[in-house]
């Protein structure tokens, strides 16, 4: 067992040394692999960030009831208390028209224009948050409120959230497909590099076969080389993503603060980093398997 491990350690050391011997060629290959890995991984980070951003809008299940303008504010307030008492409503926020007008006047900057109007154009409104879980039948509550004679309009804000979710699902699917294609590309790049390596080491392979080297023995150094390429590519890909996020961080925070948001870009978690590195190593291994299966047999002693 120890001999076996010794042999593997030797193979690994040998592979790393070989990569180091031609630093520029190695770097270029690793860079290609890194970009092919960083692209889908980076897109995934982006989509995850968008998803977490939209996740902050859970309150989007809230909807707004606009009362008819001829309903007195006292009547509307009484109704809002009735609504709040319903089992399928978690809470309500009543906004009386006078307060709404005042707020609009101060925040919108259209104060002068509003003064030109006769009376208050705003209705009393009620923001309803449906109960979550089984009791939370948003459509049901909305329909019940729509039937009240005092109700002018019930506006559900859920549709655009559903659309955003659908878009995110589509984006995720696209990222999945890009991941699959670029994974194949990584395996091919590694496979091609290993093929060249096999060609340049054909004398060594031939000699090893002549003194009784088994296929497994001859193949192993190339598999280690493939894993090293894949792993190095994944590490560089991680660095590329890390660097990109670091560069985007400040402007994103600046933009978010303009929207009163504390949103900040999330990078790769420890688990995702692990998956990234494992995927890189596995793809390098797969590429080496492909190359050795096709090309090692061709090198025979003559």
């Amino acid at each position: 067992m120890r001999r076996y491990l010794d042999l593997h350690r030797q193979n690994l050391v040998d592979a790393v040394r070989r990569l180091g011997r031609q630093p520029v060629a190695t770097l270029l290959t690793v860079l290609v692999i890194a970009i092919a890995i960083a692209l889908p991984a980076g897109l995934r980070v982006l989509v995850n960030n968008l998803a977490s951003l939209s996740g902050g809008w859970q309150s989007a299940a809230d909807f707004t009831v606009y009362f008819k303008r001829d309903v007195p504010t006292e009547r509307a307030r009484a109704l809002s208390r009735e609504v709040a008492a319903r089992a399928d409503v978690a809470g309500v926020q009543f906004i009386d028209r006078a307060a709404a007008l005042e707020e609009f006047r101060t925040r919108s900057g259209f104060g002068a224009a509003l003064d030109a109007l006769e009376g208050n154009p705003l209705p009393d409104t009620l923001v309803v948050r449906p109960a979550s879980g089984a009791a939370g039948d948003v459509e049901g509550v909305a329909a019940a409120l729509r039937k009240l004679p005092e109700t002018d309009l019930v506006q559900l804000d859920t549709q655009w959230v559903a659309r955003l979710r659908a878009m995110l699902a589509l984006a995720r699917r696209i990222v999945d497909l890009a991941t699959a294609l670029l994974a194949i590309a990584v395996a091919i790049v590694v496979g091609n590099t290993i093929r060249l390596e096999i060609q340049s080491r054909s004398a060594e392979i031939e000699i090893t076969k002549l003194v009784g080297g088994t296929d497994g023995f001859i193949r192993r150094p190339f598999l280690y080389l493939g894993v090293c390429y894949g792993l190095a590519g994944a590490v560089l890909a991680w660095a590329l993503i890390f660097g990109t996020l670091a560069a985007l961080g400040p402007p994103v925070r600046a933009l978010a603060s303009l929207y009163d948001s504390r949103f900040a870009l999330a990078g790769l978690s420890l688990r995702e980093t692990g998956v990234l590195l494992a995927a890189g190593a596995a793809l390098g291994w797969a590429g080496a398997i492909l190359a050795t299966a096709r090309h090692l047999r061709a090198v025979e002693p003559r």
């Binding site: 001999r3 076996y4 010794d6 042999l7 004398a203 060594e204 031939e206 000699i207 090893t208 076969k209 002549l210 003194v211 009784g212 080297g213 088994t214 296929d215 023995f217 025979e300 002693p301 003559r302």
Partner: protein, 223 residues
């Protein structure tokens, strides 16, 4: 130990390298395979090392019919066979030690065992102390001796050599042949292909003379 029964070998293109070769080599024997170049000496050795398969006839090595050895068993078969090549076939990016150790590493020997056997083999060919040298810094004769040490290190029962002195001057060649004769004295079976009759003139061992793919004569040498 080695037996050829009516062996024919035709290479693609129609050239007949061997046309009915029959001979046998007993355990512990040393024989020279002689003849002009192109007579089929290399082909005989290539058939023994399973680098080629016969077109017709049977090749037995160690009482094993080589026709019944599938491709995946060839490595194990070659591990029990020592082969010395005219062009040494050394790995020039590795030290002398690593070259000699290669068949032992393949066989899965332990580190201490490998060190012991590599030293013993290098001692036998007179190269002890050169373990760390890269083969390229050695003379041709020394490189050939590294190749011989590599063939010897796993202590094979049979050692075959294809023109092992092909690139060496007469003094070095004689030295190498004496080396082979010494191995034979300790029980190794050897088959050595050489076109250099002068070199083996004074050696008493058996000669198989191959001409145009056939055994022309078979008998003991001088003395």
């Amino acid at each position: 130990m080695i037996r050829f029964e009516n062996v024919h070998k035709r290479y693609p293109g129609g050239r007949d390298a061997l046309a009915g070769v029959t001979f046998s080599l007993e355990r512990g024997e040393l024989a020279f395979l002689t003849g002009p170049s192109g007579a089929g000496k290399s082909t005989v050795l290539r058939l023994i090392a399973l680098i080629e398969r016969p077109t017709r006839g049977t090749v037995l090595v160690n009482d094993q019919n080589t026709a019944r050895i599938p491709r995946r068993r060839i490595p194990g078969f070659r591990q029990r066979l020592g082969v010395v090549f005219q062009d040494h076939k050394l790995l020039y990016d590795r030290s002398v030690f690593d070259n000699v150790a290669l068949p032992l590493v393949i066989a899965g020997a332990g580190r201490r065992e490998i060190e012991k056997r590599v030293r013993a083999a290098l001692d036998q060919v007179g190269l002890l102390g050169r373990e760390a040298s890269p083969p390229i810094t050695l003379s041709t004769g020394e490189q050939q001796r590294v190749g011989i040490a590599r063939a010897l290190a796993p202590r094979p029962d049979v050692l075959i050599a294809d023109e092992p002195t092909g690139n060496l001057d007469p003094a070095l060649s004689a030295e190498i042949m004496q080396l082979f004769a010494r191995f034979n004295e300790v029980g190794v079976t050897l088959l050595i292909a050489t076109h250099d009759l002068e070199l083996i003139e004074h050696m008493p061992h058996r000669r198989l003379r191959l001409v145009a793919g056939r055994i022309e004569s078979d008998g003991a040498g001088a003395h």
